[in-house]
Amino acid sequence: MPETREKLLEVQDLSVTFGSRRHPFKAVDGVSFDIYKGETFGLVGESGSGKTTIGRAIIRVNPVSGGVIKYDGEVISGRVSRATDKRVIRNIQMVFQDPMASLNERAKVDYIVSEGLYSIHRHMPEAERKERVAKALSDVGLLPEFASRFPHEFSGGQRQRIGIARALIMEPQFIVADEPISALDVSIRAQVLNLMSQLQKERGLTYLFIAHDLSVVRFISDRIGVIYRGKLMELAGSEQLFAHPLHPYTRALLSAIPMPDPVGERGKKLIVYDPDQHGYTPADPPVWEELEPGHFVRGSQRELDGYRKMLL
């Protein structure tokens, strides 16, 4: 039961605003969710939905304009003490989308992987640092000798492994993986996904997995949040979400998953989501409501009644 599980990360009413004061743009608008220890939380949405912004707000890259983020019960958003800042850096790491762009092409793998160590453990002996790099590389299935090479000598899948090794060396508890496999070939995707689940099992890692492709997220996530234009639309256990998608946007996303099944695909009807279809009125504004245990959806009272009927 979710209540008995320990919350590792709490996001409460989070807002992130870009632009000037006169022309503000709300990239994330009142988003709340919790991530429990040891689980994988998938965040799905199209480009521009704010999913990456949430990930970046958690690692303190984007300042928040409203709401709080708590890590292990401690507030980590806004102004925090230096000790907390250090704790966040050490415990929360990020894996980026494009391994071509996220690795310093002029640095050797050795430096790329251990860069985080330099800033946190400033006085670590050289021998220990080397040992840790070798360990991190072998943990992700690369040879320790690769430390002396440059990123361009590696294939896409290997480069993403370096990106994961760089996160692992800090011995984090929580990893924000921002579209870690979108830039990879299908055959390589499987390898990286397997590596991530294996590491999770071995070390009890917690993941926030950000992606735009529901089929990938379903495979790896325990719970999934669907985000559209900065607002959460639906949140549920991943099987729950696939079995009973309620929000029209979730259903549109599900209908777009390409299946390796020609007969099924021929009869498929693509659902296109129109944000104006709700017809929200000031008298019946959309609210965020839990309709069955662990299954949240955004809708007006009229819509929620309809969703309840769908669940019966």
Binding site: E46, S47, S155, G156, D185, V186, S187, I188, R189, A190, Q191, L193, N194, S197, Q198, H212, D213, L214, S215, V216, R218, F219, S238, E239, A252, L253, S255, A256, I257, P258, M259, P260, D261, P262, V263, G264, E265, R266, K268, L270, V272, Y273
Partner: protein
């Protein structure tokens, strides 16, 4: 050339010279493309799928040459083309291409309208207001709302999916007979991907166009392809109709590609992943190129390159498993499940 064949590759060899070494990118491919069909070419990065199709448009890099074979189009052998002038009679006019990333294939300094106009003037021989009307119509045809105003905008004012629609509009303004789509949706979101594939299919039906898709993701093409060719290490290892390749795949590499799709994964279990790396094409490949990564490889796979074995008149695969003398090898579990989905029409 047979009547219904529009483009025919015959024993094509393509080589690249890199720092004095020779790379055999395409190793003897023969393939017929039929009029009005939609063909998907599927393979990993580095399998040569882009090089293969680029050779039909004269777009090989300067260090690449067609070392042998023929490319027949309209009774002309494109493999003998040397000058840019010859290629201009084909490129765009007869065979057009949609590239992967709409960010890089559009000119950021010119309005979208000007870029379409260029194709319209060159290929439809229209000028002045007539040409403009045709360009606006081209935008409308690819489903862009308010084409009059969008015509005056720059690429950065369009979203990714809309930009890809513009690229398609430019390609279609050339009135080609064959449209090659090189990973047309890889840079796009899933929802947009479905819309773009839908658009290409609609245009194909409406204009009786022949389309060739290039992709690394087998999951994407189930909806759009009539036939599928699976490429590995510069060779086509299996080709068949869409149903045959999905429900009755025969080559171990096709099995591996299908099995690694996350859509087929079972939660809590590791996804199937292909071990090892593709062969180095700087060296000569001995036997079946996939053998070193194939857990079910036979001894002969390492010694002799398999010929094509016919499974049906439309389906053939290059694997020794289909030889009558070969031992019976059961495909992996995922493939058996796919077969059941095919409704048992494939034994």
């Amino acid at each position: 050339m047979k009547d219904n064949v529009i483009l025919s590759f015959e024993d094509l060899d393509i080589r690249f010279t890199l720092r004095g070494q020779v790379l055999n990118a395409i190793r003897g491919i023969s393939l017929d493309v039929y009029k009005g069909e939609s063909l998907a070419i599927v393979g990993e990065s580095g399998s040569g799928k882009s090089v293969f199709t680029k050779s039909a448009m004269g777009l090989l890099d300067a260090n690449g040459t067609i070392a042998g074979g023929h490319i027949w189009y309209d009774d002309k052998d494109l493999a003998t083309f040397k000058t840019e002038k010859e290629w201009l009679t084909i490129r765009g006019k007869e065979i057009a291409m949609v590239m992967q990333d709409p960010m890089t294939s559009l000119n950021p300094l010119k309005t979208v309208g000007a870029q379409i106009l260029e194709a319209v003037e060159l290929h439809q021989h229209l000028h002045g207001p007539e040409a403009k009307a045709a360009a606006v119509q081209a935008l409308a045809d690819v489903g862009i709302a308010d084409p009059e105003n969008r015509y005056k905008q720059y690429p950065h004012e369009f979203s990714g999916g809309m930009r890809q629609r513009v690229v398609i509009a430019i390609a279609m303004a050339c009135r080609p007979k064959i449209l090659i789509c090189d990973e047309p949706t890889t840079a796009l979101d899933v929802t947009i991907q479905a819309q773009i594939l839908d658009l290409i299919r609609t245009l194909q039906k409406k204009l009786d166009l022949t389309t060739i898709y290039i992709t690394h993701d087998l999951g994407v093409v189930a909806n759009v392809a009539d036939r599928i060719a699976v490429m590995y290490a510069g060779d086509i290892v299996e080709v068949g109709t869409c149903d045959e390749v999905f429900y009755d795949p025969r080559h171990p590499y096709t099995w591996a590609l299908l099995s690694s799709l996350p859509q087929l994964g079972v939660k809590g279990q590791a996804l199937y992943s292909i071990q090892g790396t593709p062969p180095n094409l700087f060296h000569e490949v001995k036997g079946d190129a996939f053998a070193p990564r194939n857990p079910r490889a036979l001894k002969i796979d390492f010694i002799k390159r398999p010929p094509y074995f016919d499974v049906s008149p439309t389906h053939k695969a290059r694997t020794w498993l289909l030889d009558p003398r070969a031992p019976k090898v059961e495909p992996p579990e995922h493939i058996r499940k796919l077969r059941e989905r095919g409704g048992g029409s494939y034994a």
